[in-house]
Symmetry: none
Subunit: 512 residues, 2 copies
């Protein structure tokens, strides 16, 4: 069997990516149907002239993203979870979460805008006292490309001209928007024109822009449960009616999406915040169908997808979005640093004008200098090299964390360790609640965090959410990681032995 795959060595995309893209689009267009076999990698290799290894890697990515499956003695074939020519029509299902979970913010008094809003935890003020702080979302301070950055800033300042003394386009510097559009195609499968990109002052500014664009008092907003506080609180502050939808090992449980019209849905498909799980392809398709059917917009916050340690990065949800229902958000806070206050949103064309106007009304756009330096960093290839370097670094640190956890706690149930800058640990039975572990660890000089402290909110029952710790590893050296986990273990030992573990053992013995 041969597939009509044509490779072009002169193209920018690697051969592996070309194979992936072409098979992927044959599946999406329905040229390959569920159950259809794919050629063996050996065949594909001899057909196209690529190395067998290249073919294997392309297939592994197709498998990882749920397009194809492989089974011993059967071979590789199009998976049942793969999309057809059109997204399968969404299964209608009633939203069954209890009324109590649903947060109703705008009601009687209309007092919302004056009451001080809830806000997310941004920094850990106790950090200085800690020997190791696994605070989530911190990038490595020593990996900031300071020398290259200083040079870029210096070059731009030399020729600044009127750029500092004039108002610039509130939607952002044209060359930065171009560089981002150029980056997103190969990196995330997102095809966008520069004018669909609006530069924002980090994700938080982006949340406000989108909430002001799409939310009115009482309008429905879907959030993940658990969810990043910073996004949920902004939606809340504009009077949205929140619909939390639970997250499991496949990501957002799409069967529980509310059957309401015109919602905005805030999701983190690549590396769910805080659990770290990746939204499966099947559910991505279902989410898009739901959005199309119900006139919803999906905000895809792709905050740390630059760091993928296992296989290739998933194509962004926005890359699958044919109905123009997805707004893609990226940030330079994770891959560069939050001190820049730079991020971006990529908008469906019909929202571009409104977003530009709002950005003007909100703050006339971002400062010129760092936008200009960032554009140069991206265009020169320096940004790509920087990403590769820190991806490697964070990979090692993740490995160090997993190794230390296994050494001190045995086999751990860990979520979200395939990418990103943090992972979630579901505490074993017999351990205290996560909030207790957090408190005890902080006393011992180690920062590990329950969901709430890690700037996440959980809308379900508390006892369930309080079984998770989140651990950021990107800003710590391997030595600090090992020392921190060791200290955590000894802090818990004193606690666990007498009260919890012994009690757990006793009750087990009694049960026998």
């Amino acid at each position: 069997m041969q597939l009509p795959i044509v490779l072009d060595g002169s193209e920018k995309a690697t051969l592996q990516n070309q194979i992936f893209d072409q098979i992927r689009s044959m599946i999406i267009r329905g040229q390959l149907k569920i159950g259809d076999p794919l050629p063996a990698t050996r065949e594909l290799s001899s057909q196209t002239g690529v190395s067998r290894n290249t073919a294997v890697l392309a297939y592994e990515r197709l498998i990882a993203e749920g397009y194809v499956q492989t089974r011993p003695y059967v071979g590789t074939y199009v998976a049942a979870t793969a999309p057809h020519t059109k997204y399968p029509s969404a299964v209608r299902c009633d939203f069954d979460s209890s009324e109590a979970d649903r947060r109703s913010i705008v009601d009687e008094s209309n007092d919302d805008h004056a009451a001080p809003p809830r806000i997310h935890s941004l920094v850990n003020r106790r950090r200085r006292r800690l020997i190791a702080d696994f605070w989530v979302g911190r990038s490595d301070p020593n990996s900031f490309p300071l020398k290259a950055w200083s040079q870029l800033i210096w070059n731009r300042l030399k020729t600044a001209g009127a750029a500092l003394t004039e108002y610039n386009d509130p939607a952002g510097l044209p060359e930065l928007r171009q560089a981002i559009a150029d980056h997103l195609g190969p990196a995330r499968g997102v095809i966008a024109e520069p004018d669909q990109v609006v530069i924002v002052g980090g994700c938080q500014d982006g949340f406000n822009l989108l909430a002001r664009l799409l939310v009115r008092p009482g309008s429905p907003a879907v959030v993940e449960s658990p969810c990043y506080q910073g996004a949920a609180y902004v939606l809340e502050s504009f009077g949205a009616q929140l619909y939390p939808v639970p997250v499991d090992h496949e990501g957002l449980d799409v069967a529980k999406l509310p059957q309401v019209e015109g919602a905005v849905a805030y999701v983190t498909p690549s590396h769910q915040y805080p659990t770290g799980v990746t939204l499966s392809l099947r559910r991505r398709i279902a989410l898009l169908s739901w959005a199309t059917e119900h006139g919803a917009y999906v905000v895809e916050d792709d905050y740390d997808s630059d760091f993928r340690f296992v296989g290739s990065p998933f194509t962004a949800l926005k890359g699958l979005d044919r109905g123009e229902r997805v707004i893609y958000m990226g940030t330079f806070s994770k891959c560069m640093g939050p001190g820049l206050r730079l991020g971006y949103v990529v908008l469906p064309r019909r929202l571009v004008d409104g977003a530009n106007r709002l950005k003007t009304l909100m703050n006339n756009g971002q400062g010129w200098l760092e936008q200009a330096a960032m554009a140069d960093f991206m265009a020169s290839g320096g940004f790509g090299r920087h990403l590769r370097r820190i991806r490697q670094l964070y990979h090692s640190r993740r490995d160090a964390l997993l190794a230390a956890m296994e050494k001190h706690f045995g086999a751990c149930e860990v979520l979200g360790d395939q990418g990103g800058m943090h992972l979630a640990w579901r505490l074993p039975e017999g351990f205290p609640k996560a909030s207790d572990v957090e408190a005890r660890a902080l006393d011992a000089g180690v920062g590990v965090y329950a969901l709430a402290a890690g700037a996440a909110i959980h809308f379900g029952p508390d006892d369930e959410s309080d079984r998770f710790l989140v651990l950021g590893f990107a800003a710590l050296t391997e030595r600090e990681i090992e020392a921190g986990v060791a200290r955590l273990a000894s802090a818990l030992q004193g606690d666990r032995r007498p009260r919890d573990i012994t009690a757990a053992m006793r009750s087990k013995q009694e049960a026998l």
Copy 2:
């Protein structure tokens, strides 16, 4: 003629406000159309039983807000400027074309947050074609202290450490807040602790911060008439009920402040935007008394008070504020450049916590690098020297503008020439309307602007506001100023001679 007005003495709203509201909504709903007569105040008084004075006051407010006009021998009738859909009317932006795309989320009535907002004019897109552009609010590009600034940036980058890779205090860099507090005492008579200062991304970010802090749908907001668009549109976007109060040669006419509780009042006392007049001391005191009496907050936008050419700068309103009713706003956009996106608000102590929380929710604060450089510039004394240098420069340019105007147009009635970066010129009789002058000048390659184009809105009758031109002089050399005014004169000459001036002279002769 009788209107269906029903007054209720037990209602909270005053009788005057009830009359105002009911006539206003008849106009908005189209029950009263352009040109329709209103009953004489005497009739209305006898119909409803209110005093004649109450009726007169209600009509005066309808006139001030542009709903109705009055003409001798004709009476009072619905003005051509009256809105038909919504207040404030003006031009709903061209976004209406995409009506079909607009998302219908909730019912029609609640439409404000989703409808694209009105926005201020930020840059003059035609600038490149002009020989001299008197656009308002531009600082001199060649006076940016580029060498000193580059050095400060470079020094900070060398020791940046984790400042770029960590979230900083959303309220701003402590040393910059300290430097601003230190500066404001001697420069503006404002005594504040650093923790009362919040760094914002320019005034526009500050307007949003304050509107979200103080405005709820329907809450009263006093604006000057004419007023800076950027501020009024933000208040409008959060659903404020605008109360425009006219400005005369002494500034805001405090006698016309609305007698409502809990308002926020946006004012520009040092150099009113756009007329340039300075609020008299007598009226400053009255404004503060009004705020204290009615629980209002006054937002003092002190955008260009660094430039005072005649006498000493006035103490800021905030410097007279003993009841903690004034919020002071400053910007580095005028004295440095808008490309920095840096400004600040100084808050009464009881608003500090709420503002800090909102700033976090809105955008996690401003970028680190330029805050740090600005703090160093201020602390080193370089900022003070820079201010003195450009104050001198702008002074000479103002003199050049006044001289050129006198040379080409004779004695001119000019407002706001004692300070700032622009002045307002009340066109003499016999001249075309300001908007016509603007159009003709642009054709001739000179940018001079009517109020609306200069990012100002006027809530009174159009014919009055269209007698003013605003001219920014800070960004032009003396040679450009002279050349621009000369060109303007010759462009108008061709127009004025035959049609206007000659006609005006003829009619004057006839009158003799």
